[in-house]
């Protein structure tokens, strides 16, 4: 991956640990140019979700530096993080829909948080739910929707505010192959209109079918053929 000015994400020698536990990511260095589409693969527990958490600003790195949209996340004041997060759409592995809200209200959340006017929200959200094939379930609560329908609500919520980057953690993990392929086409449509997309997945057939560059995480180390992965920086004093 070229070290371009248009990089939307840049990791340099990033290490990450949870509290005082062992490091789960080691010397991760990579960058994503705006408008790119990448897969992120690796076995369970290898660090995919941890890497995603760093990208959607749920966690700070233990070391190294992360730059999102040209801003150094390690030094940015906490009060400015919310504005950065609004530029990131996230599809969580477990959807994280809010059960007592309707599909419409779940999808509307990013707009309400951004301060959009109520009058504009309903039409916009209804249009997007129609696009993901849920026009008949607008008022349904997540608990009454199937796994695939919840997945699509989660995707709609992630993209409603037109994020610059979409991070999807196992977005096809709970749906059958047909729906998985439909969801992938949906993500490609978003990518075509300029959204940078990263999809973390175990699904080898999807990776085969949709020819996008692929990161691989294993034992906390990031690699990937065809992707400009920076070599790990040697510790200081190690000549």
């Amino acid at each position: 991956m070229a070290n371009g000015v248009g990089d939307i994400v840049r990791f340099e020698n990033v290490g990450m640990r949870y509290r005082l536990g062992a490091e789960v990511l080691h010397d991760v260095s990579f960058s994503l140019p705006a408008g790119s589409f990448h897969f992120l693969t690796g076995p369970s527990g290898a660090g995919k979700s941890s890497l995603m958490r760093l990208m959607y600003l749920a966690h700070r790195p233990s070391r190294g530096s992360i730059s999102m949209f040209g801003r150094d996340v390690s030094t940015i004041p906490r009060s400015e993080l919310a504005a950065l997060r609004r530029r990131i759409g996230v599809v969580f592995q477990d959807f994280r829909l809010i059960d007592h809200l309707s599909a419409l209200d779940n999808v509307a959340l990013p707009l309400r948080i951004a301060g959009a006017k109520e009058g504009q929200i309903r039409n916009h959200v209804a249009e997007l739910l129609k696009w993901v094939g849920l026009e008949g379930q607008i008022e349904d609560k997540p608990t009454t929707l199937s796994g695939g329908e919840q997945q699509r609500v989660a995707i709609a919520r992630a993209v409603i505010a037109r994020p610059q980057i979409l991070l999807a953690d196992e977005p096809t993990g709970n749906v059958d192959d047909d729906i998985a392929i439909r969801l992938m086409y949906l993500l490609e449509e978003l990518n075509k209109i300029g959204t940078t997309v990263v999809v973390a997945t175990h699904n080898e057939s999807l990776i085969e079918r949709f020819k996008h560059p692929c990161f691989h995480v294993e034992d906390g180390l990031l690699s990937g053929p065809g992707i400009a992965v920076r070599p790990a920086r040697k510790p200081e004093g190690d000549k």
Binding site: Y56, L57, A58, H59, R60, R78, S79, L81, A82, A83, R85, R86, V90, F92, R96, I98, D99, H100, L101, D105, L109, P110, R112, I113, A114, R157, A161
Partner: protein, 304 residues
């Protein structure tokens, strides 16, 4: 935000269900404590105004037990002469604005709570009393005045109420301080309850709060969710608590006068005092809502 479902499902929380009752009870108690404080302040002022700038002259009845030829009629005439002489002396004393001998019937009313309605029939050796009002700023030589009064009315005692006034002032100030301290302790209890309820709510809904954060919500957005919820519950509780408190005050106003027998000033608040009293539940709700906002922001401040 108002009119649609809150993003954080706080309505079903067990702690939330008790919040209106807790706030209601605390506002009820705070209203009574505040009212007691204002009543004591007002009563103290009334007593001070009534007593300061006044003198009471007591003229004891002469001991006539060894003069067997003195009739009741001549004794009464003698009393009248001494009272008139003392009153005349007071009227001509510079600095004294008005003089009023207190009739026996009025003295009987003052003694009625202790001695009953038939006090005049008891033939007690009650002293004669004269009320005198001192002009504002006048400085009387009480020792000289006492000496002059003793010449026209032997045994006359001049009481400027200084000791009583000092004790009364001390008592009302202590009681006022206690009342307001109780009110503040009650409000602190309300704050502590709300901090606990809010922290519990944040712990129960930590996942929803994290989702809101990750899709770009500022701390203030999350805090507003909690504040709007608390505003509704606390307003209802405070309104009920205040109405109950105001009802008790009204009952005290209606029945308190009869019970105190004129010893206490009437428990009646002026418009300004009612405005202050009505501001208490409003202030309590604002305090609670502000506390919720600060608590939420402090807890969220520890997150990334």
């Amino acid at each position: 935000m108002i009119g649609r479902v809150s993003d954080v499902p706080l309505s079903g929380d067990p702690a939330s269900r008790f919040l209106p009752w807790t706030v209601g009870l605390l506002v009820f108690l705070a209203t009574l404590a505040f009212a007691a404080g204002m009543f004591l302040a007002s009563a103290g002022d009334t007593w001070r105004q009534n007593l300061s700038g006044t003198l009471t002259i007591q003229i004891p009845q002469l001991d006539t037990s060894d003069t067997s030829d003195t009739s009741d009629a001549s004794g009464a005439a003698d009393r009248r002469v001494r009272v008139d002489a003392a009153a005349e002396l007071l009227r001509t004393t510079p600095g004294i604005e008005s003089v009023r001998p207190i009739p026996d019937a009025e003295i009987a009313v003052l003694l009625e709570p202790w001695l009953g309605k038939q006090v005049l029939g008891l033939e007690l050796p009650m002293p004669d009393l004269i009320d005198a009002t001192v002009a504002r700023g006048a400085e009387l030589d009480l020792a000289a005045l006492s000496a002059r009064l003793a010449q026209v009315a032997p045994g006359a005692v001049v009481d400027d109420h200084a000791v009583w006034l000092r004790r009364l002032t001390e008592f009302t100030r202590i009681a006022e301080t206690i009342s307001f301290a109780v009110m503040i302790v009650i409000l602190i209890s309300a704050v502590a309850t709300v901090v606990f309820t809010t922290r519990t709510g944040l712990a129960i809904h930590s996942e929803v709060v994290e989702v809101l954060h990750l899709i770009g919500a500022q701390d203030s957005y999350v805090a507003r969710q909690f504040q709007n919820h608390t505003l509704r519950l606390a307003s209802a509780g405070a309104a009920i608590g205040f109405m109950l408190g105001a009802g008790i005050i009204w009952l005290a106003h209606v029945y308190g006068g009869r019970l105190s027998g004129g010893l206490l000033p009437e428990l009646a608040f002026g418009p300004m005092q009612w405005v202050l009293l009505a501001a208490l539940p409003v202030g309590a709700v604002l305090l609670v809502v502000l506390t919720v906002g600060i608590t939420v922001k402090r807890v969220l401040g520890k997150m990334m």
